[in-house]
Symmetry: C2
Subunit: 345 residues, 2 copies
């Protein structure tokens, strides 16, 4: 098992600074909500489920030293903290879902003493963390059935233990298939600009002794043309009610290529990643990040300094390109408007 990406230790949030991987495994003990906000913004903590958990624990950090004089003031403080943490990143819905849960639990118990509410907030955050662990295992169980002996699997970005509290989503499926003794190999897209595939996914897969080959994002099509890819598994950052799924930039590209080459394209995500309030992927806000993420690699310029850059962090894969969505409540298939119709969070 990969190390714990995010946990609660001695009144602080302990997380691995993922910007330093795979060269350095550095745990950070963070007791300050502003530092945690920045860790989410800078992708020191990343992956939709993991930033949901970070957000929930962030509410604990942001209110632990409250100077509120009455419950109204305390609740206002919770709301401010929630709003602040929600501003860190706009696309992954798990963050908003977890923050909403935290705000809701504070509201529900606002007649209790602040100390009691604080205890309840911490308990709720730890519950979110624990639920994610269990969801990972269940998704992995359902998804592993899709992996056959001899499969060559492609994945994009990092949907592993580093993106969650436990096993991961797409990679969790592979870890479980491996545990079951299945033989398969994996190609990992490097995933520009921030190279989560090269830095994190290969590291996790190799740790579990899974046969892993790194490629640049633009090489996947060539492998598919040669019939060398049997299945694609990716995670998601937000899934609309109709099954449209936002995920790391480059995912949509793979889904189109998969269709052209008749390769099944699977999304693996917990129910916390669904945004059941939106009808389609068109409503998903896509984060655009600083151009220097593209202009520079490891701090060194790779292009003219003043070149314009377009740097969307995510894209949306329309439901018709997704063969199945694997969740902790089972596998959903097309038509998604029907299969996801009764889903509740």
């Amino acid at each position: 098992m990969p190390v714990a990406t995010i946990s609660w230790k001695n009144g602080k949030v302990r997380y691995i600074d993922q910007t330093l991987l795979p060269h350095k495994v550095k745990f950070v003990d963070c007791g300050d909500v502003k530092k945690l906000w920045s860790a989410i913004k800078r992708l020191e903590v990343r992956g939709a489920p993991a930033i949901g958990i970070a957000g929930a624990l962030g509410v604990v950090l942001g209110t632990k030293d409250s100077k509120a004089k009455n419950s109204g003031q305390f609740l206002a403080e919770v709301k401010r903290t929630v709003k602040y943490l929600a501003s860190a990143r706009p696309t992954a819905v798990n963050l908003f879902w977890a923050l909403e849960r935290m705000e809701c639990v504070a509201k529900t118990h606002n007649k209790l003493s602040f100390d009691k509410i604080k205890d309840i907030l911490l308990a709720e955050a730890l519950k979110i963390l624990d639920e994610d662990k269990k969801a990972c295992r269940r998704m992995a169980g359902y998804g592993a059935a899709l992996v056959k002996n001899g499969d060559v699997i492609l994945t994009h970005c990092n949907a592993g233990g580093l993106a969650t509290a436990d096993y991961g989503t797409a990679l969790g499926v592979l870890f479980e298939a491996k545990r079951q003794g299945k033989r398969f190999s994996v190609y990992a897209d490097e995933t520009r600009p921030l190279l989560q595939g090269a830095r994190l996914t290969t590291w996790e897969l190799m740790h579990e002794k899974i046969d892993t080959t790194l490629i640049c994002d633009n090489m996947a099509a060539s492998l598919m043309a040669k019939g060398k890819i049997d299945k694609i598994f990716v995670g998601a950052d937000r899934i609309a009610r109709n099954g449209d799924a936002a995920n790391k930039i480059g995912t949509y590209s793979l889904a189109v290529l998969a269709k052209h080459h008749n390769v099944p394209f699977y999304v693996v995500a917990p129910v916390s990643t669904f945004d059941l309030k939106i009808k389609s992927g068109k409503e998903i806000p896509i984060e655009e990040r600083d151009g220097d993420e593209v202009r520079c690699i490891l701090g060194k310029p790779i292009a003219p300094k003043n070149v314009k850059v377009y740097n969307p962090a995510f894209d949306v894969t329309p439901n018709e390109l997704i063969a199945a969505i694997v969740t902790e409540r089972g596998i959903f298939r097309k038509p998604y408007t029907k299969s996801l119709g009764k889903l509740k969070k």
Copy 2:
């Protein structure tokens, strides 16, 4: 106009070391065939037409200090040099085509004195260079007619002045359209692993004051989904008789995406890039390069040191995905087996 990528100066091959761009414009005067071989291998000189010219000039370098005692020995020396230079890179056919011309001209004149043959070899190499210049201008003229006001154009890798003796192939089309006063903008794929798009294409386009935006390779699909790309122009390294075209890795990916989004996909290449001896792209050998090109960027590791890598330098786009092939002899369209049927080099 971009600076001269490759030329003949004072008995040496003068070339820009493209591995240092865009940060440093360094001209190298190379009088040694082994050094030139290494420059081709290391992509200091790159681009199918440019390495054809480099190869031809390399034959001059490789035979200038000949110690042959008779014409048989001299011809054997030419052949050895040709074989040696041909081993630098396997995919772009321009190299083999230029080397074949050099060997042929040496054979034809093998009754003359060595000094005369050397003069003829140099004249032939300079003729190849000059023909490429003229071909660039003619391709640009034909291709510019395909560019309309308001177009947003996507290109991959570098098919500019740096890949040829003059204007470039795909970028030559854009330079000419700009010269004609057309208004359009360009997205340039960064083109991993060696980043020719980020380093070279943006530099050339910005030099000509063309509105240029840099993206990672995996972002192109997302732009197409939004209807933001009107046309794609790329170069080629080898085109089979049926129109199948090998080009920088990632080109095939774009062609599939273009088909899905109904975006016309154009290949621009001189006739020297056609390999009329092969029926289809299946016969094109694809160079696989060192895994460290993917594992490291600017010499720094971005992945676990021991991760396996697959690093093909090219892929093949099947003819049915190509809307037209622009050459110096006009624009060829589907079905290519018919339109290219009478083409001779």
